[in-house]
Symmetry: C2
Subunit: 163 residues, 2 copies
DNA sequence: AAATTATGCCAACAATACTGGCATATCTTG
DNA sequence: CAAGATATGCCAGTATTGTTGGCATAATTT
């Protein structure tokens, strides 16, 4: 059905010219960033597939490993997702023995999050191919460029109030 | 319920030390990349919310604008998603008048995709805040660093066979 | 004529996000 | 101390975007 796509009649072939870096818009880097991130997350995705976990689990495991003792609220702030979205994956990670909760020593309402040994191993296994990819992307780069890339990525973040 | 989290007994507080750049793993850039991308896509997300579109629509509109006349197969290859995932959003974009299909002049099975005027406007509106963010992140960067960043992002991509 | 290709579409499912609400334990304050 | 605020957990429901597998049609290739 509806197979009469072109050929009709007076429809002007719309905008056949590529949109290039018009009006100071840097399409090139926008695309590079998309492709880079797409492939950057594909490595851990492939590993996680086997464990039945997903990207969300990856992020949680990563940040808990980096900041042991962080609270649920800290994590929500870092990931910028809602309580419910986090709750699901966090629960699974706790039940699977990758993360442990400990009541906060001062404020006992808080759940401080710590990696277990296998949580640490998982985080490491996931980070490893990403790190190799980064190293490969940096091949032949000067120290200035390496620092420049870090500064660039850092500068891409939102600049917020109370951080 | 189950509120007895810490305090129990012999459970050793597991792994309270932060995982730092262990064994040559570059956690810093991994994180920077995550934060950068998180905020990078947040600008278009906010705009798309109003139109009832999502990230998937953004990507389609972007690439069709960049490569007018690309086919559905090209797009699938670029986005690395399945036919069905693409079909849904593409259909919506065509029905909403942002993208047009034209049967291929040589191979009439192909649907060549073109932006309409409003498709081009949408792509531009979405790219604009991203481009401003990029420019801000580049503030004060030397030409060498700018090139280095591009090379870095490019190097993060998979290196494939038949491209 | 038969096989292959490019595409469209259907049904079903999974992961991850969202909202809004309610419950509990705990801390803070009047 | 009672009341309110806070940190967290959990439930129900929904949306987006991804997946698989299959079937249909038109057009091209063999």
């Amino acid at each position: 059905m509806s197979r009469q796509t072109g050929s009709k009649a007076g429809k002007p072939e719309p905008l056949a010219t590529p949109m290039e870096d018009t009006g100071g818009i840097d399409f090139e880097i926008i695309e590079l960033f998309f492709f880079a991130y797409r492939d950057f997350v594909s490595d851990p995705d492939a590993i996680l597939e086997k464990s039945g976990f997903g990207r969300a689990h990856h992020r949680v495991v990563h940040f808990v490993n980096r900041n042991p003792g962080m609270t649920v609220a800290d994590l929500l702030d870092t990931l910028k997702i809602t309580k419910q979205s986090l709750a699901r994956v966090l629960k699974q990670l706790i039940e699977s023995g990758y993360i442990r909760q400990v009541a906060g020593p001062e404020d006992r309402r808080q759940r401080k999050l710590y990696p277990t040994k296998s949580g640490r191993e998982l985080a490491l296994a996931l980070a490893e191919p990403q790190s190799r990819r980064i190293e490969r992307a940096f091949e032949g780069a000067s120290p200035q460029v390496r620092e420049g890339v870090k500064a660039f990525l850092s500068g891409m973040r939102d600049r917020k109030k109370a951080d």
